[in-house]
Symmetry: C2
Subunit: 359 residues, 2 copies
Amino acid sequence: VSLNLAFEEAPLRGSISFISQSGTLGNYLMLLARAKGYSFRAFVSSGNQAVLEATDFLEYFGQDEGTKAIILYLEGLQDASRFAKVVRNIVPQKPILIYKAGRFDVGVRAALSHTASIAGNDRIFDSFCQQVGLIRCYDPLHTFDMAVALTTQPLPKGKRVAIISGGGGYCVTMAEAACAWGLEVPTLDYATAQKIKEILHPFAPFPLNPVDAASDVRPMTYARVIDILMGLDYIDGVFMMIPFMFEFQLRSAAAIRELVDATEIICGLPAKYGKPILGNMIPRVSVGPALDLFQKAGIPFFATQDESARAMSGLVRYAQIISLAKEVPFSAEKPRFPRADQPIAYVSRVDPVNIPERD
Amino acid sequence: VSLNLAFEEAPLRGSISFISQSGTLGNYLMLLARAKGYSFRAFVSSGNQAVLEATDFLEYFGQDEGTKAIILYLEGLQDASRFAKVVRNIVPQKPILIYKAGRFDVGVRAALSHTASIAGNDRIFDSFCQQVGLIRCYDPLHTFDMAVALTTQPLPKGKRVAIISGGGGYCVTMAEAACAWGLEVPTLDYATAQKIKEILHPFAPFPLNPVDAASDVRPMTYARVIDILMGLDYIDGVFMMIPFMFEFQLRSAAAIRELVDATEIICGLPAKYGKPILGNMIPRVSVGPALDLFQKAGIPFFATQDESARAMSGLVRYAQIISLAKEVPFSAEKPRFPRADQPIAYVSRVDPVNIPERD
């Protein structure tokens, strides 16, 4: 059953449950997320929390088998120790992504005015997230990008990624976005690069990673190269922007057959290797059977490189949380997760307008 | 005349000219930008720059009267000193926004592979941008959000903003996004807050800034409050998310008249006060005459709070560049713009996956 306790429009079917302390904002975020093609299992607004609070809904979705990831929009917490206990129980089973107001003083002021919430000390909240294994985002929409990957793809063992595309510019910007989100893009070993080179057009650049297929439109090129990349022990996941959804791929029966064969191979790779694949594509101009096959196989496609990079970083982050949770036995007293020594998140994005005074 | 020297689809009419060193990526970015409703004057791809290079196109658009802002996607530079000279001549007249590959080593590697460009030392490039007054973005799409505001709204005198919405959650998240982009959200003085309080519903929270109008659907409320906010000497610009584009505003002739009157007032405020207004709205569910009137008046509406915040930060940044350019006489030898002492941009966004080792 899909729940919608807040607004008139029913969210699409999916396995993400979204708990928002703000009804209007929650609805707004849902509409933005749905415009991106994301689907949901449930959306509840806990409002000023006079009767039920966010933790009650969290507990419910923690036990709900149809929910694979939980997103929280919070302005403040009423009972932090109960919240922590509920979170600790859920996190080993499913990821919880959170956006919480109060990173800046004015946000604290606005939250108090809106839902009478005490947002609290943000550094303490940040440490708290680290300790209980919450994945904190600083933009509410980032939680959605990460949740989509977390509900569809296997968790990576590390943060080393490969990138393949028919477009060199995509390779460049995807590589930069991946690094900006803390991922690594290792250079391919020579033997593998040679093997891939033989699959590509002769005029394609030597494949170092990113692999620039130089406008190759043959679907099987990508299926074969991605299979090789996914099999490498130093690659934990793959980003792809591949020319599978263009009109010209539907030019003949033979072309469509190759397209479908190649798509089927790629769709099977995440399960074959236990590693995630994330795609990029241009929304609303994509056509043909590949789109539908990828969707059925649960391979998510994002519009921008920043979105897919942060989605992969969410997978990496949750994999780290899971592995720490297994190593350190449960203790209500001691922190299970280390806190960040340098909360560099506090300064991120501030620089664009801060031209320092001249000396 | 609208130029399009790269791909088949003609960009919509506007005053932003976009020069991309990558044809495929440029086309991809154009499609993403157009899906957001942005329009362009020209799009050229300079490719591997065998004949004409990016600087030639830059020089052209610098003199083109129909171009009000220029966006560059670059993977490397051939003649940096000529580029610098051209940029310095253009910047006092119109803003130049740039995304350049090479922030990370792998981006350098990918750019070399793609267009044989030497991306160069990124810290040096960053200082270079500061010196010549280029607005550098770390995500190619950010250049578009900023350019839209720069081609439609007046430049602010400072970075202090007011926020108004019918939704408290928007107030919270918009305030946080504004701070994340280096803007300030000052508390209103008591007399002004009292004056605004009398316009709002009695149950609305006391207006401190953000002004939470508590689901007020009367258009004239927003017109009157925004007029007051724009007139304050300690407010340099306004963010608004207002219920003007909903179906229920069209319920009667009287309702439509109030809607149109209020919209007309708001449309006149940027010119009246010489300050920018940026809006947020939910794409594809907005209806009615306000949408069209705002568009004709050049008041841009963005989907997310992060987009509008960075658009405002682009306005603030360019205003700072212009004012420095006026103060410091031109000199080809000495830097006209200070370089950032702490390139904190290098660590931004890296934190989400960096859980430190446990001790």
